[in-house]
Assembly symmetry: C2
Homo-oligomer: 112 residues x 2
């Protein structure tokens, strides 16, 4: 298990490559409740959080938006009544980068 | 074509029923760009809006949240970089109610 929560995203360049399965396994071991989802043949990192109503869910969505801007790495966020589903992946490499696990850890911290 | 944009949602009760296909067709004729989507055997009303970046997309998500609270009817909102997808339906009746078309029209007005 490795802890990435206090690190920051690195810029994605043409030289950036997707994480290996071993690297994904290692980074995932540092998280709780995140699922690896294979969307459109790309691996995505996804988790849902429960809230009491729409207002609280939307407030969480906005918190995620703030850290996404700070790190210049943006997820998709599905906001619904009492629930937010966050999906991190790195569009440019069509899969998972260490940045996604950094942001997943930071997302968990927002929810705690 | 009928115009519902300046009307308000009515409370959903045990007596509320889903719109008929004819009613859906009539109400949909008053909207532009909305698709009827059959999710989990329930009809949903869905539309995507394009934006310049994540910040603008999230701002639109918040505008939708505000009218959703005002009308006490809440959609799912998928927020991503440069795009927001809004889905209206009425959970309690497992399908579409006039309220959903009212909210779709109001959502369009927010985007204009």
């Amino acid at each position: 298990m490795i802890n990435v929560i206090d690190t920051h995203c690195t810029p994605i360049t043409a030289a950036s490559i997707r994480l290996s399965n071993d690297e994904i396994g290692l980074l995932k071991s540092g998280l709780s409740g995140w699922e690896i989802d294979d969307k459109k043949s790309e691996l995505h990192l996804e988790k849902s959080y429960q809230f009491d109503d729409f207002t609280e869910a939307l407030a969480f969505t906005n918190k995620i938006g703030k850290i996404a801007d700070e790190e210049n790495h943006h997820p998709t966020i599905l906001t619904e009544w009492g629930k937010v589903t966050v999906t991190w992946w790195t569009h440019r490499i069509k899969g998972l980068h260490k940045n996604d696990f950094i942001m997943a850890a930071k997302t968990d911290r927002l929810a705690s």
